[in-house]
Amino acid sequence: MRAAAVARAAALAAGLAAIGAGPAAAQKAQWTDVVYVPGYWAGGQLVQPPAGQSTDSLALVMRVDYFSAPPKWRAEIRRTTDGTTMGDATVLVGEGTRALVLTPLGATPLDQHALGRDPLVRAAVVFDGTGHRLGAAAGRLVERLASGAVGRVVYRRAVVKPTFDEALLNPGGRSAGATLLASGISAVGDQRSASVVATAGARGVDNIKTPAGNVPVTPDTAAITRMDHYHVGTVALEEFLRAGGLGPYAAPADSTTGRHP
């Protein structure tokens, strides 16, 4: 009887230890890849160097925001087709190397979706079989073609201590379909409910307390509406980072992650 009780206690302790070391061990990661290809934008057209020729110029083609808790991950892909603006997000969710495209109607395997034939989208699946990220956590990553020429250059920057909701990694999750935008660069503001605007303008004169005493203030909701509608585009922000040598653009050495298809 006593031996059985000890065994049960040991099993319980082992079970608790396993629980502690199990799901909680999945480390969240969040980062952004900004993808360039050799060439330049001219009049809304991407001009790429002839095959076999190298070029010093790089053209921004895509930004991908990643959210990962291995083995699951989510990638929000925005592409530019003119070099100045980014399009709407295409959302992929996945587990290991298996990727699904989220659409308003549901989830479709990437292999069976038209996007599966797009080499840039396929290259955005940067995970191994266990769902861990391929390549460095941050910095400049260069992918080469079989010829040795540069295929893509990825500038990767990581988010500090990510806290996103893991429900976003589930294809059928309540909020999986919601577009989750890193760093607020795009138009999340447009998704806010009308009630935000409706109720915030209803307030009259306030008396605010300051260290120098009470001050009457009339809230200026129009100024905040202007702030809500003001956006700095992704392309402009990347140019700003690049010009300043900030984040991944300051990386002293390249990390080669593999071959670009």
């Binding site: 969040q30 952004t32 925001d65 959210f67 920057r157 990581a158 988010v159 500090v160 201590k161 990510p162 806290t163 996103f164 989750l180 935008l181 890193a182 760093s183 607020g184 660069i185 138009a187 999340v188 503001g189 806010r192 409910s193 009630s195 935000v196 109720t199 915030a200 303008g201 209803a202 307030r203 306030d206 605010i208 307390k209 300051t210 260290p211 120098a212 001050v215 203030v217 009339t218 809230p219 200026d220 909701t221 100024a223 905040i224 202007r226 702030m227 809500d228 003001y230 700095v232 402009a236 922000l237 700003f240 980072l241 010009a243 300043g244 040598g245 900030l246 984040g247 653009y249 300051a250």
Partner: protein, 270 residues
Amino acid sequence: MTRPSSRAAFGAALLLAAGWAAPARAQSLLDRLRQAANVARALLPISTPKEIEIGRGIAATIAGRYPVSHDTALTRYVNLVGLTVAGVSPRPDITYHFAVLETPDVNAFAAPGGYVFITRGALGLIHTEAELAGVLAHEVGHVNARHVINAIRKSDAMREVKSQIDIQGAVLDQLVGGGTNMLFMGLSRGDELQADSLGIEYASAAGYDPGGLAAFIGRLSAHAGEGALAAFYATHPKPDERIERLHAIAAREHLSGGVDLAARYAEMAK
């Protein structure tokens, strides 16, 4: 072995007995239950949409106190620097908006939901983009740590709030008013120091010289007697303590390197 149901019944009997036998003690118990209920109410989370709604109201009051600048080039520059540091911070559920306030007062404010302001007076004392990044990252830290929202959750106005839907109308106005007063009277010392920690981390992760925030705070000391700094000194911990702590964080976290971009700041912000 006592079954749970009989244990609960025994406990309830004891409580009832205590109530009949000693009314004063029962009253005390009821008080404690009420207090526990108040604590539970105070812990009611405020959803992100409601946080934005409250933040928008607070931001409107800040913009009523000090006019928001119409200088488009400066606004764009401050947004670019702000989004650079916000880009490495972990709140993808909100959009950050940055604006300049036209006042010679030296200060910066962060309303919940991502509305961040810096005054023209503060920009005049800043020498490098790394310093601006440090100040904005400190404000982003306040937003990310939900300092104002957490203080609001503990406020009296939340007593009537039982769910998110109750945060509207007069209750919303009360929460906005309370949050605005907190910002103008100053957040807690602990909140300010935590925002410093987050700020240096974000600025450094974005690629800026991590010494930017400390350099700016140090420069404020040289202007300590000036009227434009009165509100800042009344609402923030002592500069020496903050600088010492920032240097300690940089050493502990091995934060070094980065760029200060003084020339770009001189070109864009003057």
